[in-house]
C-alpha cells in the first residue's frame, strides 16, 4: 500500500463531534489555567452529547501534561499525547487523534487547551532559555512581536507589501468580530485606525498584534461510525498534516516562507484529496496581521507576496467570496497564547451551520491552518460536513 493510500484510508474515518470554549473568555483573574481546561472539556463533551467518563484519549499541549488533565477530570486514559510545538499543537493533535481513534487505541478523544495568558493564574514561569538567553535576550528580543517583526520587514523588502496591506487584515477580521457575541473587540476599525495606533515594534502597531486573554477550548472526536449517535451534525476530518522546521528564527531557511506550513498543507490536502482552491471557508492563526497572508502563500493558495490580496476588496469579509477568520480571530475575538484550538472550534461551528449572524451560507469545506512559534511548526486540517 502506498503512503498516499495509507493516508487516504484515514480520511473521514474520524469526526469532530463536540466543541466549546471555557464558560467565559477574556480577563479572568478568578480562574486558574487548569480550570479553563476543565470548563472547556466539560462544555465540549456536553456539546457532543457524551459524558466525561466516555473520554479515554487525552491530548493537550502547553504547561499541563495530559496526565494532569486526565486527573483533573477524573479519567484514567487509554491514550495520551502531549506534543507541544507551539500554538498549532492542538491542530496537529487532531491528526494524532485521528490516527489513535482509527486504530482503536481510544474511542473518544478530547483535545484540550487552557491558558491564563492575561492574568497568569496557576501558571508556571519556567521556560527553556538556554539559546535565547545567550543569543537573543541581550539584544532586547523576547516576546513574539520582536521575532515576527523581522519576518514581516523582510517580506516588505522582498515583495513590496505595505503597512496598509497588513492593516487590511485587521480590518477584515474585525468585521467578523462585530458579528460574534463572544469576541472581545467588536467596534468598527479602519486602516487608518491601525496605522495610527500605538507603535510597539515597527512594522507593528498595537492593532497589528493579537489580543492577550484568558481562555480555554476543547474539541471532542470519535470514529465516524460512532459519531452518528452524537448530539450534533458530525464534522469529518478529511485531511490532517503537520510540519516542524525550526525554533530559533535564525534557523528558518527562508524568512518569508514557512516550510513547516507548506509541508503541513501538502499532507493534509493529499489525505483529503482536495486542492487549495476547493475551500469555501478558511481559518488561519492570526497572532499578527502579516501571519495569514504568509500562511496562504506557504499553503500554495496565493503566489509569494500576494497573500495580502485575499484581504483586499472585501473578499475575506462578511458577504465576501472567501470568508477568512470568521470568529474575529486572535486579533479581535480571543488569543490566550496558544490560539490553535479556537480556529478548529469555529470551523466546526460553521460546518454545522450554527453561527447565526456570522454564518457563511452553505459552507461545506473548511481549511484550518495554524503556526507554532514564529512559523516554526504548523498544522493543517481539512474539515467538511460531508464525507
Amino acid at each position: 500500500m502506498s503512503d498516499l493510500a495509507k493516508m487516504r484510508e484515514l480520511s473521514s474515518s474520524v469526526c469532530i463531534v463536540g466543541v466549546d470554549e471555557s464558560d467565559e473568555l477574556g480577563t479572568l483573574p478568578g480562574k486558574s489555567q487548569l480550570s479553563l481546561h476543565v470548563e472547556a472539556i466539560t462544555n465540549a463533551v456536553r456539546d457532543a452529547g457524551l459524558k466525561v467518563s466516555d473520554v479515554d484519549g487525552i491530548f493537550t499541549a502547553g504547561q499541563h501534561s495530559p496526565a494532569t488533565i486526565g486527573e483533573a477530570i477524573g479519567v484514567v486514559p487509554r491514550y495520551v499525547d502531549g506534543t507541544t510545538v507551539g500554538g498549532c499543537s492542538f491542530i496537529i493533535m487532531v491528526g494524532h487523534a485521528v490516527l489513535a481513534l482509527h486504530h482503536g487505541l481510544c474511542d473518544v478523544a478530547v483535545v484540550s487547551h487552557g491558558e491564563s495568558g492575561r492574568s497568569g493564574v496557576g501558571v508556571s514561569p519556567r521556560r527553556d532559555t538556554a539559546l535565547p538567553g545567550q543569543f537573543e535576550f541581550p539584544y532586547g528580543f523576547g516576546g513574539a512581536p520582536t521575532y515576527f517583526g523581522l519576518i514581516t520587514t523582510r517580506h516588505m523588502h522582498e515583495h513590496g507589501t505595505t503597512l496598509e496591506q497588513w492593516a487590511q487584515v485587521a480590518v477584515s477580521t474585525r468585521k467578523w468580530a462585530a458579528l460574534n457575541p463572544k469576541a472581545r473587540n467588536r467596534d468598527p476599525l479602519t486602516v487608518k485606525d491601525v496605522l495610527d495606533s500605538r507603535p510597539v515594534v515597527w512594522p507593528f502597531n498595537i492593532l497589528n498584534i493579537c489580543l492577550v486573554t484568558d481562555a480555554g477550548g476543547a474539541v471532542v472526536l470519535t470514529r465516524a461510525d460512532r459519531a452518528k449517535d452524537c448530539a450534533k451534525r458530525p464534522v469529518y476530518v478529511r485531511g490532517a498534516g503537520e510540519g516542524s522546521e525550526h525554533v530559533m528564527l535564525t534557523q528558518m531557511r527562508d524568512l518569508t516562507f514557512s516550510e513547516a506550513t507548506r509541508r503541513s498543507g501538502e499532507k493534509a490536502f493529499a489525505m483529503a484529496g482536495v486542492k487549495g482552491t476547493d475551500f469555501d471557508h478558511i481559518m488561519l492563526y492570526d497572532a499578527f496581521t502579516s501571519g495569514p497572508p504568509l500562511m496562504l502563500e506557504a499553503l500554495g493558495l496565493a503566489k509569494r507576496g500576494e497573500g495580502v490580496h485575499f484581504f483586499a476588496e472585501g473578499r475575506s469579509t462578511p458577504g465576501g467570496k472567501l470568508p477568512i477568520n470568521t470568529n474575529g480571530g486572535g486579533l479581535s475575538y480571543t488569543h490566550s497564547g496558544m490560539y490553535g484550538i479556537f480556529p478548529i472550534i469555529e470551523a466546526t461551528r460553521q460546518l454545522r451551520h450554527e453561527c447565526g449572524a456570522r454564518q457563511v451560507p452553505n459552507t461545506k469545506l473548511s481549511l484550518v491552518n495554524g503556526m507554532g512559534g514564529m512559523l516554526s511548526a504548523a498544522g493543517t486540517l481539512v474539515l467538511s460536513n460531508e464525507r
Binding site: G133, Q134, F135, P138, G143, H157
Partner: protein, 142 residues
C-alpha cells in the same frame, strides 16, 4: 554593577568559544571540518551533515542586514537601553544568520534598508563579556 542589558545567560559549554572570542574582540563561529560549512548557533554536530568534527574560525565580521525592526517597548525588564532600539538579523558573509542590534544609525525605517552592508563592533558589558553588535559599513548616519 548596573547593566543596561541582560548578560548572555547561561553561557553553555558548547558556546563558550563564541563568548571568549567576543570578549577578545573577535567574532568566532563554528565550522564543520567535514563539509566545510560554517554555522550558528554553536552545537556539537554540524546541522548540515551531522558530522561531529566541528571546529572554530574567526568570521570577517562583515555581512548584510537581512532584516530589522524598531522596538518602541521592550518586554524584558532587564533590558534598559533607551528605546527606540533597532533589533536586527544579520547574515554574515560566511552564511550564518544571527540576531543583534544595529547601532550607529537613526532608529527610523526610512534610514535603514534590508541588505545594506554592515560590520561587527563590540559593546563591552563586563570584563568577561562583550556583545557583538553591527553598524553600517562606513559608519552610516552616525
Amino acid at each position: 554593577m548596573d547593566l543596561e542589558r541582560p548578560l548572555p545567560t547561561p553561557i553553555t559549554p558548547e558556546c563558550r568559544p563564541y563568548w571568549e572570542g567576543a570578549r577578545d574582540g573577535k567574532l568566532m563561529i563554528p565550522k564543520c571540518r567535514a563539509c566545510g560549512k560554517p554555522f550558528m548557533y554553536p552545537r556539537v554536530a554540524c546541522p548540515f551533515c551531522a558530522s561531529r568534527d566541528v571546529g572554530w574560525v574567526q568570521a570577517t565580521g562583515r555581512g548584510k542586514l537581512f532584516s530589522f525592526e524598531i522596538a518602541h517597548q521592550i518586554l524584558n525588564k532587564a533590558f534598559k537601553v533607551k528605546t527606540p532600539v533597532v533589533l536586527a538579523m544579520v547574515e554574515l558573509e560566511e552564511g550564518p544568520r544571527i540576531l543583534t542590534n544595529l547601532v550607529g544609525v537613526a532608529p527610523d525605517p526610512k534610514q535603514i534598508r534590508c541588505d545594506m552592508p554592515v560590520e561587527v563592533c563590540f559593546e563591552k558589558l563586563t570584563d568577561q563579556v562583550s556583545l557583538p553588535m553591527f553598524r553600517p559599513v562606513g559608519g552610516g548616519a552616525r
